[in-house]
C-alpha cells in the first residue's frame, strides 16, 4: 500500500509499504477514506519530537471502512468508523476512570521504558507519533491496523459525510476537553491563545459551556476571522499588546480562564522566544513556551489555566511565582478521546458544533507531502488539510 513516511526534518514521502494484517485478536484493519494533517504533525515534520525513525508512517486523525476483523473485535466488515488517536485498552484502572490517554496497555514494554525515564510514568500509545508513543504506523495511509478495535473506534451512521465527523479522532475532543478543563462558569470571559483547529473548537466549546465572552488571540487574519464567526472577540498579537488589551477588555480583572492552544512551537518575535529558540537549537531546553507564560500572567487571580497545547520536554522561565501568588489552577494532558466521542458525535448530528468550516484543502493522499509543505508555509489560509486516498490525483 501507499503511506506517508517520515524520513527526516521537512522530508516526508509517499512510500510503498506492506499492507497491515491482523496481529492481535482485538485488532481490526480499516481502509482509510479520510485522514487529516494535524498541527502536532508539524512538530514531527520540524523534528521537534525525539524517537522518530526513518520510514515511520505518520497520521493520527483518520477514519475509514472496516475491512478485516480479529476474533475478538466487535466491529463488522463494512462499518464506517472514526478512530481515536489514543490507543487505549478500555479495561485498566485508567480506562475505567475514563483517563484513556493514561492507559499503558497499548504501549509495548520497551517503549514504556522511554516514557518512564522521560516522564516518570508511561502514557498511552498513539498512532503515527514517534517510538516513545509506541511506534504504531499511522493513518496517512491506505490501510491501518487498529488495536483494541472493540473499544476504540466509534461507528458512524450511514449517510453522514466523512468531513463532518473526521475531527472526532483528535482535534474536536481536544478543543472540547480544553474548554472543560477551563471549568467555565456562566458569565465567564475565556481567553484562547492560538486559533488553530484546537483553539477554534475550544472557542465553540467554551460558548456551549456557558462562557459569556471568548477572546481569541492569534496573528493570522484568516484564523482570527474564523474565531469571530463563532462569536469570539479577537486580538492580533502582531498589532496589539496582548496583556494590555486583555486587561482593558476585562475591566482590569483579567480573563477568568485562559486556554493555551499553541504549544511548543509558539511563534512571534519576543525576547524570551528568541532565547528559547537558541536553547532548543542547542538542546539546552526543548520547548518554546511564550503563550503559556503570557496566559498565566494575564489570567485573573484565582482563575483557571487549561493547556491542551503539546509540550514534550523541559522549560525554564516558567512564571511559577505568578502562578502561585495568584492561586491559579492548571489542567492539562493528552486528550481522553474515547470519553468524549459519543457525546460529540451527537452534538455534530444535532448541528450544535460546526466542523466542516475548518477544512481549507482536500487533497489526494498521494499529494500528502505537498499538503505538509502547504500547511507549514501558509498557516493563514491553510487551516486544515484533509487527505483522501480515494481521490484521483489532480
Amino acid at each position: 500500500m501507499k503511506a506517508l513516511a517520515w524520513h527526516g526534518k521537512h522530508d516526508v514521502r509517499m512510500d510503498t509499504v506492506d499492507d497491515p494484517e491482523i496481529v492481535n485478536p482485538r485488532d481490526c484493519i480499516i481502509k482509510v477514506t479520510s485522514t487529516a494533517i494535524c498541527g502536532s504533525d508539524l512538530h514531527l515534520y520540524d523534528h521537534f519530537i525525539p524517537t522518530m525513525q526513518a520510514g515511520d508512517v505518520l497520521g493520527h486523525e483518520f477514519m475509514g471502512e472496516v475491512v478485516e476483523v480479529g476474533a475478538k473485535s466487535t466491529l463488522k466488515k463494512g462499518q464506517r468508523v472514526v478512530v481515536p488517536f489514543t490507543i487505549s485498552c478500555g479495561s485498566c484502572y485508567h480506562c475505567n476512570k475514563h483517563q484513556y490517554s493514561a492507559c499503558p496497555n497499548g504501549l509495548p514494554a520497551d517503549n514504556q521504558d522511554i516514557a518512564r525515564t522521560a516522564y516518570g510514568q508511561e502514557m498511552s500509545a498513539l498512532f503515527g507519533y514517534s517510538h516513545m508513543t509506541g511506534g504504531y504506523a499511522g493513518g496517512q495511509a491506505e490501510y491501518v491496523r487498529v488495536p483494541f478495535s472493540d473499544v476504540g473506534p466509534i461507528v458512524i451512521p450511514d449517510g453522514v459525510e466523512d468531513d463532518k465527523v473526521l475531527f472526532l479522532s483528535d482535534i474536536l475532543p481536544t478543543g472540547w476537553q480544553a474548554a472543560e478543563y477551563a471549568q467555565i462558569e456562566p458569565g465567564d470571559t475565556v481567553a484562547v491563545w492560538g486559533c488553530g483547529p484546537v483553539g477554534l473548537f475550544a472557542v465553540q466549546s467554551a460558548f456551549l459551556m456557558g462562557a459569556e465572552r471568548v477572546i481569541a488571540i492569534d496573528h493570522f487574519p484568516n484564523r482570527l476571522a474564523l474565531a469571530r464567526k463563532f462569536g469570539a472577540e479577537t486580538i492580533n498579537f502582531e498589532e496589539t499588546a496582548v496583556y494590555d488589551a486583555l486587561m482593558e477588555m476585562t475591566g482590569g480583572i483579567g480573563p477568568d480562564a485562559v486556554i493555551d492552544a499553541v504549544g511548543l512551537e509558539a511563534h512571534g518575535l519576543f525576547v524570551d522566544n528568541v532565547i528559547d529558540e537558541i536553547k532548543a537549537a542547542t538542546f539546552l531546553g526543548t520547548d518554546r513556551i511564550h503563550s503559556i507564560r503570557q496566559a498565566i500572567i494575564a489570567c485573573r487571580k484565582g482563575g483557571r489555566v487549561s493547556m491542551p497545547a503539546v509540550y514534550g520536554g523541559f522549560v525554564d522561565k516558567f512564571p511559577l511565582g505568578a502562578f502561585m501568588e495568584k492561586g491559579l489552577t492548571l489542567k492539562t494532558g493528552q486528550t481522553h478521546v474515547q470519553h468524549y466521542m459519543p457525546a460529540l458525535l451527537n452534538a455534530i448530528m444535532e448541528e450544535k458544533i460546526d466542523t466542516e468550516f475548518l477544512i481549507s484543502h482536500r487533497l489526494p493522499l498521494m499529494d500528502a507531502p505537498k499538503g505538509y509543505k502547504m500547511f507549514k508555509d501558509n498557516q493563514n489560509e491553510c487551516t486544515k488539510v484533509v487527505l483522501k486516498p480515494g481521490m484521483a490525483a489532480a
Partner: protein
C-alpha cells in the same frame, strides 16, 4: 557479611541506595542466592487468585517473559529454565520452589550447578478496587560480575530491565488478553519478539 546500614525509613529494600541492600534482602528469602537485587511492582486490575493461578503454571511464563526460551516443569516443586543470555547463547538452571502460599506468593531458589545463581519471590497483594499489586524480588549473580552486568544492559537483558518489562507485559496480557505491538503483521511480530 558486611555491616548493615541502619534503615531509618519504611521504604522497600529494593529502592535502597545502600551497597548492602542485597544482603539485607537475602535475610528475607529462604535459601537466598545471588548478590544483586532487583525489585519491581506493578498493579494489575484482576483478582490475585486469577493472576496467581496463571503465574503458577510455569508453562505460561514464556508468553510474557521475553528472554525465557522455555521452561520444563519437572515436578510440583522443580522446573528447568532455559534463558537467552546477553550476546547470544543461553543459560540454564533448575529452580526449586521454597515457599508457596496459594493465591499470595511463590518463592524459589536455583539448585546447585546453575549457570546463573538466583532466588526470589513473587507476591500478589490484594489492592481493592485497583486489583492486585504484583511484586517481584529477584536476587541473582550477574554472569561475569559487574562487567557482565554492563554487557547485559547493553543487550537489554539486564534483569532489572527484564523484570520491569516482563511485569508490564504480564499486566497487558492479564488486563487485555494480548501483548501490545506495533507490528504490521504476525511475521513481523514474531521477528520483533515480545
Amino acid at each position: 557479611m558486611a555491616d548493615h546500614a541502619t534503615q531509618t525509613d519504611d521504604a522497600p529494600i529494593t529502592a535502597s541506595k545502600q551497597s548492602d541492600a542485597a544482603d539485607q534482602a537475602s535475610g528475607q528469602i529462604t535459601d537466598a542466592k545471588g548478590s544483586s537485587i532487583v525489585g519491581r511492582s506493578v498493579t494489575i486490575n484482576k483478582p490475585a487468585a486469577e493472576l496467581f493461578s496463571y503465574f503458577r503454571d510455569f508453562n505460561n511464563l514464556p508468553t510474557f517473559m521475553e528472554n525465557v526460551e522455555r521452561i520444563e516443569v519437572l515436578d510440583g516443586q522443580r522446573s528447568h529454565w532455559v534463558v537467552k543470555a546477553p550476546a547470544g547463547g543461553t543459560v540454564e538452571w533448575d529452580a526449586r520452589i521454597t515457599a508457596e502460599e496459594e493465591g499470595k506468593s511463590i518463592a524459589w531458589t536455583s539448585e546447585p550447578g546453575a549457570d546463573v545463581e538466583n532466588s526470589g519471590r513473587v507476591e500478589f497483594r490484594d489492592a481493592g478496587a485497583r486489583g492486585t499489586v504484583v511484586t517481584a524480588t529477584i536476587l541473582y549473580d550477574p554472569p561475569a560480575g559487574i562487567i557482565g552486568k554492563v554487557i547485559a544492559k547493553m543487550f537489554q537483558r539486564e534483569p532489572a530491565i527484564q523484570a520491569r518489562r516482563d511485569l508490564n507485559r504480564f499486566k497487558q496480557l492479564m488486563e487485555t488478553g494480548e501483548i501490545a505491538t506495533p507490528a504490521m503483521n504476525p511475521k513481523q511480530f514474531e521477528e520483533m519478539g515480545l
